[in-house]
């Protein structure tokens, strides 16, 4: 009985252990695959469409407003109705504040506008004035609860037309920090009046002085819309029949005017994107396009949106290059201007809205309809990213043509992120190419010699030393490449080129001299010993080439090869360049390729070579015609594994290149690889931001690339092994 119970206990323990081992083993394997899943999960939001939901509308008094602005917590909305009444409503519809811009006994209001991003409301009067009122939202905390108190600043009145006539299109901007005001309006005679009011606070007395300047611009055709940037440097106007006018107000008294043709369809709306360098043009045929100056010419850079009806309102986000456009029949769409991506489209919550405005945080759009302000909550965290913007050329602001650029951050908040992975992919392939170009011949031929021409006694010494080289930390290789090798390559570049000629000569000399030695003396040495003799000669050749390079430089390149390269060929020579990386990364890759191809060579069944030799083939014929073809899949697999290693290598490229993300195949330039880019940028990238996820995408690309290549190599190797088993 006793032994029976013990046996049961043992069986139970065994079963538990089986389950435990299976669970544990599967968990480890699952967690490995979980890495891939995690990377995918982190990258996925990049390409997800925007989440848009209608929030409860705010009921308002009065008629539909053509101008509105909303506070960042969406607690209040300020509207300016066509009659000139400024009203601030709380979320629940309570009227908090009211003021009329049309003063009693004065001329009525003609047009109204809300300059984007300024939190101001503006209107023109029938007697040629512009009135601007700043809206401030003051937050205070009571017992940890935030309260927003709306505050209307003093109304600023600017005399635009001394003749006191009603005006056409106008634009008014108020800089909230300096208090400077800029206004432009088309007068009745077609001329444009520009008025600037600058405020200066005296350092000595603290007095505030105001200076107002007026400029008149030449008459223009009748304008339907006018927008200006905040500093009043640029003014854009839309004339009928699709003409777009722009004025450069920066320099002179007589500003430069330019006209561009936007097509037959009349322009209905103009707006400025974040940064105020790009103009959004909405037209009657429902198109919205992005324009900016490329090479000094206002150019239609891309067409972003196509709505069914005439574009009525465009609202640009103050946080990113995202804008919302709505047409006359109530269709709306949310678009990313840089990538041209449509983030969302659908029915507007307020089909008849006259105007739309983004909230200061860019997380909601308010639409002013009749009797209510509808609000659309927007969650579009990664508008910059799309397949096209990550991999294809994108026309960035200020660039003369579409470009592939990686530049993830800039000095200002309104910087346009340029997240093209293509230059980094190209850099990765460039580094891989140069390192494999060096490593593949050195490793494969070296492995072939080791396995086919070397005595096992020597093999036992050669193979582990190469294997040990594989364990060299890449940070050490990178350090040596960047600080030791790079300056030496710079001074002795010609010597290095010369090596390609000299070293083979050294090897041949070594071979000839070795074969001239007495056969009896040679026979006493293990096959392969001659390699050490070659090494001495090659070392000498290397030294000679390097030592000769100053002479060659003086004779051929006027003393300095990099200087000559610059003067004669116009190429820049970076000290840390692709050649240096090629050599350093070659060091990292050689042992891997060597070990796998050596395996492939030695696993070729002996009887194949023996048969070939018995039929009278020479040793070299046997190696090239019999052994090499049989082992070639293994060599392919070795090269693939080496490729995988070179693609992902980080520290060497980080330290031995200048890390400039440029697209250039010149061996004399540096580059930036995907991996180095991740290492450089991810510590600074805020978690969850577009840059962070883009770097995850770079990691995912590396993962996928190496995984595919390695799997291919592994499958080839397994097939090879089965073939050898049959032979």
């Amino acid at each position: 009985m006793e032994s029976n119970r013990s046996a049961r206990r043992r069986r139970l323990a065994d079963r538990v252990a089986t389950a435990g081992v299976a669970a544990g083993g599967l968990a480890v394997i699952a967690s490995i695959l979980g890495i891939l899943a995690f990377l995918l999960i982190e990258v996925w939001p990049l390409l997800r469409a925007a989440q848009v939901e209608a929030l409860p509308a705010i009921p308002i008094e009065g008629s539909a407003a053509a101008a509105l602005t909303i506070d960042e917590h969406l607690t209040h909305v300020a509207t300016l109705d066509p009659g000139g009444a400024v009203r601030v409503h709380a979320r629940d519809g309570a009227l908090v504040f009211e003021r009329s811009l049309a003063r009693d006994g004065e001329a009525p209001i003609v047009r109204t506008a809300a300059p984007p991003g300024d939190s101001t409301l503006a209107a023109t009067t029938a007697d040629g004035r512009i009135r601007v009122v700043p809206v401030a939202w003051r937050a205070s905390f009571h017992d940890g609860v935030r309260e927003i108190a709306p505050h209307l600043g003093d109304t600023i009145t600017l005399d635009m037309d001394p003749g006191g006539r009603p005006m056409g299109a106008f634009a008014a901007r108020l800089d909230p920090e300096t208090g400077d005001v800029f206004a432009a309006a088309q007068l009745a005679n077609g001329a444009l009046a520009i008025v600037r009011r600058a405020r200066e606070t005296s350092f000595v007395t603290g007095e505030v002085s105001e200076t107002t300047t007026r400029t008149m611009l030449a008459p223009a055709p009748k304008l339907t819309a006018l927008v200006a940037d905040r500093a009043g440097r640029r003014l854009y106007g839309a004339a009928q029949e699709g003409h777009l006018l722009s004025w450069d107000l920066r320099a002179s008294e007589t500003p430069a005017t330019a006209t561009a043709d936007a097509g037959d369809s009349p322009i209905t709306t103009l707006a400025l994107l974040l940064g105020e360098r790009s103009l959004l043009v909405g037209q009657a045929d429902g198109r919205t396009s992005v324009w900016f100056e490329a090479g000094g010419v206002l150019t239609r850079v891309r067409e972003v949106a196509q709505l069914p009806d005439a574009v009525r309102a465009i609202a640009a986000s103050p946080r990113s290059r995202v804008f919302l456009a709505q047409d006359a029949s109530g269709n709306a769409g949310l678009y990313a201007a840089t990538s041209g991506r449509e983030l969302w489209s659908g029915a507007s919550p307020s089909p008849a809205a006259l105007a739309a405005a983004f909230s200061p945080r860019g997380d909601a759009v308010a639409f002013s309809g009749a009797g209510e302000v509808a609000i659309l909550g927007i969650d579009a965290p990664h508008p910059e990213a799309s397949f096209a913007s990550l991999f294809l050329p994108v026309w960035y602001e200020g660039h003369p043509k579409p470009d592939l650029v990686w530049q993830s951050s800039g000095g200002t908040d309104d910087f346009e992120p340029k997240l093209s992975l293509t230059p980094l992919l190209a850099g990765t392939l460039k580094g891989t190419f140069y390192s494999l170009a060096l490593a593949v011949p050195l490793a494969v031929l070296g492995a072939m010699y080791t396995s086919q021409f070397m005595h096992p006694r020597l093999q036992r010494f050669v193979k582990p030393s190469v294997e040990l080289m594989a364990s060299l930390p890449s940070v050490v290789l990178g350090f040596l490449a960047g600080l030791w090798l790079a300056p030496r390559v710079e001074t002795a570049f010609t010597g290095l080129v010369l090596c390609a000629l000299v070293l083979p000569l050294c090897a041949v000399t070594g071979g000839i001299s070795w074969s001239l030695l007495p056969a009896r003396w040679r026979a006493r040495r293990a096959a392969g010993s001659e390699v050490f003799w070659y090494a001495i000669l090659i070392g000498g050749g290397l030294w000679l080439s390097v030592a000769a390079s100053p002479w060659i430089d003086t004779a051929l390149f006027a003393g300095s090869f990099p200087q000559w390269l610059h003067d004669a060929a116009g190429l820049r020579y970076d000290q840390r360049n692709a050649v240096v990386v090629g050599i350093a990364m070659g060091f990292a890759v050689i042992p891997i390729i060597f070990a796998i191809s050596e395996d492939a060579f030695s696993n070729v069944p002996q009887h194949l070579a023996a048969g070939s030799l018995a039929l009278g083939a020479s040793r070299w014929q046997t190696v090239t015609r019999v052994v090499l073809p049989t082992a070639s899949p293994g060599i392919f697999s070795a090269v693939m594994v080496g490729f995988g290693r070179a693609v992902g290598e980080t520290m060497i490229v980080l330290m031995a290149t200048g890390n400039t993300p440029i697209l250039d195949w010149s061996p004399f330039n540096g580059f930036r690889t995907l991996s180095a880019n991740v290492a450089v940028e991810i510590p600074e990238a805020p978690a969850g931001a577009t840059l962070y996820r883009t770097l995850f995408l770079a990691a995912l690309l590396l993962f996928a690339l190496t995984f595919v290549v390695n799997t291919l190599a592994e499958l080839v190797r397994q097939r090879l092994r089965r073939r050898f088993a049959r032979l």
Binding site: R10, A17, T18, V21, G24, G25, V28, I29, I32, L33, I35, L39, L442, L445, G446, Y449, V462, S465, E467, S471, L472, P473, S474, V475, V476, F479, L480, L503, P504, V508, G510, I512, G528, E530, V531, F532, Y534, A535, G559, S560, L613, S618, R619, W620, Q621, R645, G648, E649, M651, L654, S675, V678, A679, P683, A687, A699, L702, V709, N710, R721
Partner: protein, 543 residues
């Protein structure tokens, strides 16, 4: 086997030679690399003679000659030498290029001293006097030299006392103050109320006052110690006659390299190497030792080994002993194999997203809410670094352990089972012991790989300079959330981010040499172990 076949295939011969040449070049490159590292690394410790140069213009300078090269673009083919002149606090430049034609005379004065200091780098000159405040303790070279040694030893002891006070009492009381601050914050966040809360608040306030008082007392003692530490100065004269007083306490070592014989030089080099390995960094890592980096590397690698060994072995046992051979297992094996080829930076990115922000962020919110927004586990640290590297190296352990398990002859398993043992007993008593060397090889290889890996760690936990080791005397003794220093990162950081790269190059070479020695020694151990295993059980491939 080499067939010296007839001359009918001359091309074959030439190709064979070329082929041999590539192998020769491979070997040459490996040796060259090792030689560059060894020579440059060792030269960091080797004392160079101090050379006094009198230039044609009458100026004099004293320093160590570092290199000599042909002057670029010089039509007359002149040479120049680079002299390390030190005395950064006087001249500002560490190195000077001197055209050899400008040198009027050159000598190696026996009385020239090289001072290694805590601040400002090396000082080259001659000793003039020894002072305490206004009193002259010794005047003249020989007297100063004689009086210097005992005084210097006393100062070294004082320095040790200061460091002990800083590391001991001061560190303890400031840790206590921080702990009380966090406790107060926790109380603030908690829902408790009434008398109990008031009592704890009063208790905390009292303890806090006591801790502050203890800190003040220790700080007062420290400043008194510091004052006496800096009381004595040694006056030195630079080559150009400028005099400089340096506190004796700031002197690390006085060397008269021109007096040293071969044995003395070796002794000095060894003493410098010992300081390098055991000392802490000075002058923003550009001088002193690298002990914290060695410690951080070793601790991280061992933490990683503790994690990776059981899991890797478990997975290997499952794949080899329990799972049924089939498409799935073959696929998994390929996946595991290839994971070893996935770039290490990818693991770093994963570690940052999953461990640091994911797991670490959650731990912070749940357990360390009082310290927020300053992250405790939600930032890079040694634990996350070890776990990331464990993921990185688990394929290495799985592959090697599988190989070890596969090499155990089936007869042994069958014998054990035939005798009535269960599978578990067979596994634990027979298979695993037989495969142990293979498993150990895998773990050692994983450790070697982890020790040399830098890229993922840059993301998940390393810092330039960690003031506190991850292990110390304060509860809970091992601080897994702390950042740490790492040899490999030290090489990158000091070599590429420091403002004076030329001056720190020897130190970086020495660090790199140490790192390579550690990694190569670990690998060598694994290779030898594997070779022994292979010769004992005979070669067997897997897959």
């Amino acid at each position: 086997m080499r067939v010296g076949s007839s001359s009918r295939d001359a091309i074959g011969h030439v190709m064979t030679w070329l082929c041999g040449g590539t192998l020769a070049l491979d070997l040459l490159l490996i040796t060259g690399l090792a030689a560059v590292l060894a020579v440059n690394g060792a030269s960091h410790f080797w004392p160079r003679p101090l050379v006094e140069l009198r230039l044609a213009g009458g100026a004099k300078l004293l320093g160590a000659v570092v290199e000599r090269e042909a002057i670029p673009d010089d039509p007359n083919g002149g040479y120049r030498i680079r002299v390390h002149v030190g005395n950064r606090d006087l001249g500002g430049q560490d190195f000077r290029w001197i055209d050899e034609r400008e040198i009027a005379s050159r000598g190696e004065p026996a009385d020239a001293v090289a001072l290694e200091r805590l601040e400002w780098g090396a000082f080259y000159g001659r000793m003039v006097a020894l002072r305490r405040a206004e009193t002259v303790l010794a005047q003249g070279q020989d007297a100063a030299r004689a009086a210097f040694e005992p005084l210097h030893e006393a100062k070294r002891a004082e320095l040790a006392a200061i460091e002990e006070l800083e590391r001991g009492e001061i560190a303890r009381s400031s840790a206590e103050i921080e702990r009380l601050r966090l406790a107060a914050r926790r109380l603030e966040l908690s829902e408790s109320s009434g008398a109990e809360r008031a009592a704890s608040e009063a208790d905390l306030a009292g303890r806090s006052a006591a801790a502050n008082a203890a800190y003040e007392r220790a700080a007062a003692r420290l400043s008194a110690l510091r004052e006496s530490f800096l009381a004595e100065t040694v006056e030195l004269e630079a080559a150009d006659g400028t005099r400089k007083e340096i506190p004796v306490g700031h002197v690390v070592r006085v060397v008269r390299p021109n007096e040293l014989g071969m044995a003395g030089r070796f002794a000095l080099a060894f003493s410098r190497a010992a300081e390098f390995v055991s000392g802490v960094p000075r002058e923003s890592n550009t001088e002193g030792g690298i002990f914290p980096a060695i410690f951080g590397t070793v601790l991280m690698v061992f933490l990683m080994a503790i994690v990776v060994a059981p899991f890797g072995v478990l997975a290997a046992i499952y794949l080899r002993e329990y799972a049924k051979e089939g498409l799935l297992v073959r696929g998994v094996r390929i996946a595991v194999n290839n994971l070893a080829g996935v770039p290490s930076i990818v693991f770093g990115v994963f570690g940052l997203g999953f461990f640091v922000y994911g797991v670490g962020g959650s731990i912070d919110r749940l357990l360390f809410a009082e310290a927020l927004p300053a992250p405790t586990f939600g930032t890079g640290g040694i634990l996350w670094a070890s776990l990331t590297l464990a993921l990185l190296t688990v394929p290495v352990v799985i592959v090697a352990s599988e190989e070890g398990l596969a090499a155990v002859p089936n007869a042994m398993r069958e014998g054990s089972l035939a005798l009535g043992a269960t599978r578990l007993e067979t596994l634990v008593r027979v298979v695993v012991p037989a495969a142990a060397p293979g498993i150990l090889t895998g773990v050692i290889l994983a450790m070697a790989r982890a020790a040399g890996e830098v890229a993922p760690l840059m993301i998940v936990g390393m810092v330039k300079l960690a003031p506190a080791l991850p292990v110390d005397g304060a509860f809970p003794f091992v601080h897994l959330e702390r950042k740490f220093m790492h040899l490999g990162f030290h090489v990158y950081d000091v070599g590429f981010q420091s403002p004076n790269v030329e001056a720190v190059k020897p130190l970086v070479f020495a660090t790199a040499l140490l790192l390579v020695l550690v990694v190569v020694a670990t690998n060598l151990a694994a290779i030898l172990l594997r070779n022994r295993l292979r010769s004992r059980l005979g070669p067997r491939s897997i897959g």
